[in-house]
């Protein structure tokens, strides 16, 4: 399929034009860049910096525990330090580092110029940075969260938790928004922006894993966001969700937290395995053995990970039968994990392995992780967990899992992918030294903790008595931690080493087979032209591919119209569908992140006015962003992308990336809503009379609200259909009717509990009813904004009969709102009647 470029094309001019279009802004404007290369690098650097900060906190913990009855840190400081150590490692390093790597790597790996929503990616990064600095900075004011990264009420809802708890809840909610933004970006990117021909069964394993992980984020983070919402309502307004005196239950938080928290472990672990799945075949010099096995295993791990959460709650007194179920599920997750490990071993056995520095880190990680996996099987067994739970045995277990299953693979990935950043390689000598320091230091630090825990030392203690068998074990752990720290420092030195004198290396220094090694660090455009892919390892199997791509012989080799463009392909077979124009350099992303960040920070300090103003500014910024940056009607219908292929420049409905983004966002939104409904029924199950004698919202108003929401939904769908048939005026009328019906629906929703005088601070039943109807009302209000936006676009001529993607996306939104309304008003209005 090789073909020389047509002679009439001026390749030099083409490249110059591409370079201009994809140029990175200069000076301070550099920070307004939204290109995946810069955003990925910033994201990764910030996550790495947060990791070093949390690592220092870890060293502080070890310093305090080096000897018994130490008074280096006070009890309060220690509690803040350990809480922040866990929180930062989980939320500011482990998850974001993979979003960073994915944003950086996926476009070249998939043969795309850019991910579909670069501005969304940049917005996510800025949100992450602001939230992260806010959360980390709190410790310098002695105001960091102090109730553990798990934030169990009633401790974390009490006065003792101080403002730290609000910082945790609001700061992290903000960061979770960023994570969800990244998940939307990655899912749509992987599904719709692959190079032509890259069918799902040819996708690089890294893409498969990230697709699974982004999907998991979509279902795992929303329960935590829902939990955060309930939690903050209790802290701010005394709604008693977790207060047993008023019908609440602290265990609800534990359920919501661990429904998030356990998948979180796999959200962290799977992308690390994904890195190994790229590294191992390269150094074994052959394709992975058992591609289908490893993909199935990863999917299986993802599914199972949602059925394990109760193993964090084996000591809470749940019925033994449910403990048995979750014990079995927890053990079962070892099976897909085992498959993935054996896929790597089998690949190495079937190839000829070059034992490079990345491989050293990979194998070290494997040795540590397998140990953590085996202790994981141990704690999955309920009787053993009753002893090990909340002891240092679990501290050892989780660090073996996360450092072996995540940190070492990340460092393997760092040494492996570093050449993609600037064409140079990190030092093998320093790398090997760092590896051995980290590996020995880690084991000296954490292996003894298994024993410390079984000898009875609980977690999260700031001091311990001498002579009950923990002294020397702790001292050894501290010495090991210091060695681990030195090893990490060596990596930091290696990363920041000045390599100006090192000559630029080969473009594909490891002779890898996957597409990302085509990308040139000097260029911002991802790939010079987008090739057709016929193999899982195109650089090994498709002769001359690199040369052809770089000479612009493939698709979309130009940017004639002066726009940033990438290809959109079909979900399964990756057949070209559209040329997508993506957003370029802009400061709207920073403004949006700053205003939204202000909302959360102001809420922490209960500055209601500031929060409200910032909230309005955020909405305005987003509308401006959407108005100027999306749904643009192109100057021509189709574009010739070379090789005789011509694609449309505009797509709406299921073919457009925006539709998918809305679908995915609303799936996450629906999951959060489902978590709230779960809360409602949770309270119902734990009480004889869960209403606590409080009158419900009645049937009339909920049913009125449901009818009005249905009317708004019907008007929206009607507007889309009428507009498509050319009835532009009628469509506008329907949009107005929809907005009015929705406004009335919101009012009716709130009128239910209002008219029956339900006091949300009196009992948990009115509180959960208020939360559900408010959730529906907020969605109705956002729906009004969307309908009015469509109306404005129509009036401004930016939404026409043919170019109607906004109407499709808003109708999709309203489908979800309709389901939300059905469930909400059915539950709050009819369910009490059925009792």
């Amino acid at each position: 399929m090789s073909a020389a470029p047509p002679p009439d094309r001026d390749k030099v001019a083409e490249e110059a034009q591409l370079r201009t279009v994809w140029a990175t802004p200069e000076g301070w404007r550099y920070w307004t860049s939204v290109n995946n290369t810069q955003v990925g690098l910033w994201y990764g650097s910030a996550a790495f910096a947060f990791m070093l900060f949390a690592g220092l906190l870890g060293l502080l913990i070890r310093a305090q525990l080096a000897v018994p009855e130490n008074d280096l840190l006070s009890a309060e400081t220690y509690n803040q330090v350990y809480t922040l150590h866990g929180t930062v490692m989980m939320f500011l390093f482990a998850v974001p580092i993979f979003e960073a790597v994915a944003i950086f790597l996926l476009p070249p790996m998939l043969g795309a110029r850019e991910l579909p929503f670069p501005r969304l990616g940049a917005f996510g990064f800025w949100s992450f940075l602001i939230g992260g600095v806010f959360v980390c900075g709190s410790i310098f004011f002695g105001a960091a969260p102090n109730s553990g990264w798990f934030m169990y009420p009633p401790l974390a809802t009490s006065e003792q938790a101080g403002i730290g708890a609000d910082i945790w809840l609001l700061g992290l909610s903000f960061i979770e928004v960023a994570s969800l933004a990244a998940a939307v970006e990655l899912i749509v990117g992987i599904m719709k922006c692959r190079a032509p021909g890259m069918r799902v069964n040819l996708m690089p394993l890294f893409a498969w894993y990230l697709l699974i992980v982004a999907g998991m984020i979509l279902f795992a983070f929303p329960p935590l966001i829902a939990g955060d919402l309930l939690f903050e309502m209790q802290r701010m307004f005394d709604w008693p969700f977790f207060d047993p005196e008023r019908g609440g239950d602290p265990l609800l938080w534990q359920h919501l937290f661990w429904i998030f928290g356990h998948p979180e472990v796999y959200i962290i672990f799977l992308p690390a395995i994904a890195l190994l799945a790229m590294i191992v075949p390269t150094f074994a010099g052959r394709p992975i053995v058992g591609y289908s096995w490893i993909v199935l295993a990863a999917v299986g791990t993802g599914f199972l990970s949602f059925g394990l959460w109760v193993h964090h709650m084996f000591a809470t007194g749940l019925p033994q039968i449910s403990l048995a179920f979750f014990s079995a599920a927890s053990g079962a997750v070892a099976i897909p994990t085992g498959v993935q490990i054996f896929v790597f071993i089998a690949t190495m056995l079937a190839g000829r392995v070059i034992f490079s520095t990345p491989m050293l880190f990979a194998m070290g990680g494997l040795a540590i992780f397998v140990m953590g996996g085996l202790t994981g099987v141990m704690v999955a067994l309920v009787p053993f967990d009753w002893q090990a739970h909340d002891s240092y045995f679990v501290v050892a277990h989780l660090h073996y899992v996360l450092i072996g299953g995540m940190l070492f693979p990340v460092f393997a990935g760092l040494y492996y992918y570093y050449p993609l950043i600037n064409g140079k390689r990190m030092s093998d000598r320093v790398g090997r030294l760092a590896f051995w320091l980290m590996f020995t230091g880690f084991n000296i630090a954490f292996f003894p903790m298994h024993l410390t825990g079984l000898r009875g030392m609980p977690r999260r203690v700031y001091t311990y008595p001498a002579d009950i068998g923990w002294d020397w074990l702790n001292l050894i752990s501290t010495l090991g931690a210091a060695v681990l720290g030195i090893g990490m420092f060596a990596v930091v030195v290696d990363v920041t080493l000045n390599r100006r004198r090192q000559p630029r290396g080969e473009q594909n220094p490891w002779y890898a087979g996957t597409l990302e090694w085509i990308s040139e660090p000097e260029e911002n455009w991802g790939v010079r032209s987008i090739p057709r892919i016929e193999s899982r390892y195109p650089l090994w199997d498709q002769e001359n591919l690199a040369r052809e791509v770089k000479s612009g012989a493939w698709y979309l080799a130009d940017a004639r119209e002066g726009r940033r463009e990438t290809l959109v392909t079909s979900v399964l077979d990756a057949e070209p569908e559209q040329v997508l124009r993506v957003g370029g350099t802009s400061y709207v992303t920073i403004i949006s992140a700053v205003t939204l960040g202000t909302v959360f920070v102001a809420l922490t300090f209960k500055w209601w006015i500031v929060s409200l103003v910032a909230g309005l500014a955020f909405v305005a910024a987003v509308i401006w962003w959407l108005w100027t940056g999306t749904g643009e009607i192109p100057e021509k219908e189709r574009k010739d992308i070379g090789r005789g292929v011509s694609l449309p420049l505009y797509a709406s409905g299921v073919k457009s990336t925006g539709w998918w983004a809305m679908f995915i966002t609303m799936t996450g939104d629906g999951t959060a809503f489902a978590s709230l409904v779960f809360g409602y029924f949770f309270f119902w199950t734990i009480h004889q009379d869960f209403t606590g004698g409080v009158a419900g919202p009645g049937v009339y108003w909920p049913m009125a609200a449901l009818s009005l929401f249905a009317a708004a939904w019907a008007a929206t769908v009607g507007a889309r259909e009428v507009n498509r048939r050319g009835g532009v005026g009628a469509a506008r009328v329907l949009l107005v009717i929809g907005a009015l019906a929705s406004a009335a629906g919101c009012a009716a929703a709130l009128a239910g509990p209002w008219t029956t005088g339900m006091d949300p601070t009196a009992h948990v039943y009115p509180a959960i009813v208020w939360v559900l109807v408010s959730w529906a009302a907020v969605h109705g209000a956002v729906g009004i904004l969307m309908l009015l936006y469509c109306l404005a676009r129509s009036l401004a001529g930016r939404l026409t009969r043919r170019h109607d993607m906004e109407l499709h996306n808003v109708a999709l939104y309203w489908h979800f709102v309709m389901v939300t309304a059905l469930v909400t008003f059915g539950v709050v209005g009819l369910f009490p009647e059925a009792l």
Partner: protein, 353 residues
């Protein structure tokens, strides 16, 4: 700040011994093990060790642990050896088909087999470890209420009478004891590693735990769920006694301590300084319940929930400096209390045997 923390190394007490005498705090702590055994990695002696079981559940779980550890280390060595062979030592390459078979056997068949066996073993263990509600077995019910950062301990005898104590648990050897666990504020977790696993104390819920001590001696239990600032300091001694000794010990706690009448002036001081608002002392006007019951506090092994050995001097120190000794507890600091009052109250309390 220095602080002694109560230790007993003498947990391998001969049967027939009565309760251990409270030891004085000063000086080095004796460790009741031969010196030669101390530095070994597998030496599991320790009064708070799950690997040195003194109870039925702990014994079974320790066995489970050793079985899994040996098996786990073997599996680990096997996997790592294979990975090293594959990446470093082997010469030729195996075929893709053989590699595929390895995935099936190593990644699926082997773990399924091992996990099924292990799970069956653990599930079979579970009901027998914590048999609840068997009245013929559980003659004694002990109610534990967790509070920041201490334990209320109420012994409910089969005849319906109950005896209130705090920060120390005494159990009859060989008898199955049922605990009912609640909390007055935060979530705590009740854990005596030498006897068995832990169970949470959750506000609004009552959890149950069943333990059967099999060796007499003194052990240490501790709160295992992070419960606030001084979570680290919420421990308690556990004394397993001969059933006869236990019954007579309990009977002696059913009425006021003879020490109450030793010093009526100290009792008056105790009340005047407001101690009775939070603490109860049987036989006096002190009827508070928000703090530990002090009716027989002088006979306890430790004060401050296993913070210090129990004598008049540590008692005085705890009263005067409670907030620096135990940050965040509800007990106020009595720095301004005249030292004469402090000494009198401490001596009187110590006398409440």
């Amino acid at each position: 700040m220095t602080r002694e923390i109560f230790i007993s190394g003498e947990h391998q007490r001969r049967d027939g011994d009565a309760e251990p005498a409270p030891r004085r705090s000063s000086g080095a702590v004796r460790v009741g093990v031969p010196l030669s055994a101390v530095p070994l990695i597998v030496s599991c002696n320790g009064i708070q060790s799950a690997l040195d079981p003194a109870g039925e559940e702990a014994r079974q779980v320790a066995t489970l642990f050793w079985v899994m550890t040996v098996g786990g280390l073997a599996i680990w060595a096997g996997v790592i050896a294979l990975a090293l062979y594959a990446s470093r030592w082997k010469r030729g390459a195996i075929t893709t088909e053989a590699a595929g078979r390895l995935i099936v056997w190593g990644g699926v068949v082997f773990p399924v087999t091992v996990l099924t066996a292990l799970l069956a073993y653990a599930l079979w263990l579970m009901p027998s470890l914590r048999p609840f509600g068997d009245q013929t077995q559980a003659g004694l019910r002990v109610e534990i209420v967790g509070s920041q950062f201490w334990w209320r301990v109420v012994y409910h005898r089969p005849d319906g009478s109950s005896i209130v104590s705090a920060n120390e648990v005494r159990l009859p050897l060989g008898r199955r004891v049922e605990f009912s666990l609640t909390s007055s504020d935060m979530i705590h977790s009740f854990w005596i590693p030498a006897l068995g696993g832990k169970m949470d104390l959750i506000p609004g819920r009552t959890n149950r735990l069943s333990l059967q001590p099999t060796k007499s001696g003194t052990y240490r239990g501790q709160c295992a769920e992070f419960c606030g600032r001084s979570h680290a300091l919420m421990a308690f001694p556990v004394v397993v006694m001969q059933p006869g000794d236990f019954e007579s010990w309990l009977a002696a706690r059913a009425s006021a301590s003879p020490g109450v009448v030793e010093s009526r002036s100290a009792e008056t001081l105790f009340l005047r300084h407001g101690c009775g608002d939070c603490h109860r002392v049987d036989g006096t006007q002190a009827r508070g319940t928000s703090g530990p019951d002090l009716s027989h506090v002088g006979s306890r092994l430790t004060i401050g929930a296993s913070l210090m050995t129990n004598d008049a001097e540590t008692m005085a120190r705890f009263i005067a400096h409670s907030q620096s000794l135990k940050p965040g507890s509800l007990m106020p600091t009595y720095l301004d209390m005249p030292s004469a009052d402090l000494d009198a109250i401490s001596a009187w309390l110590k006398g409440l045997q």
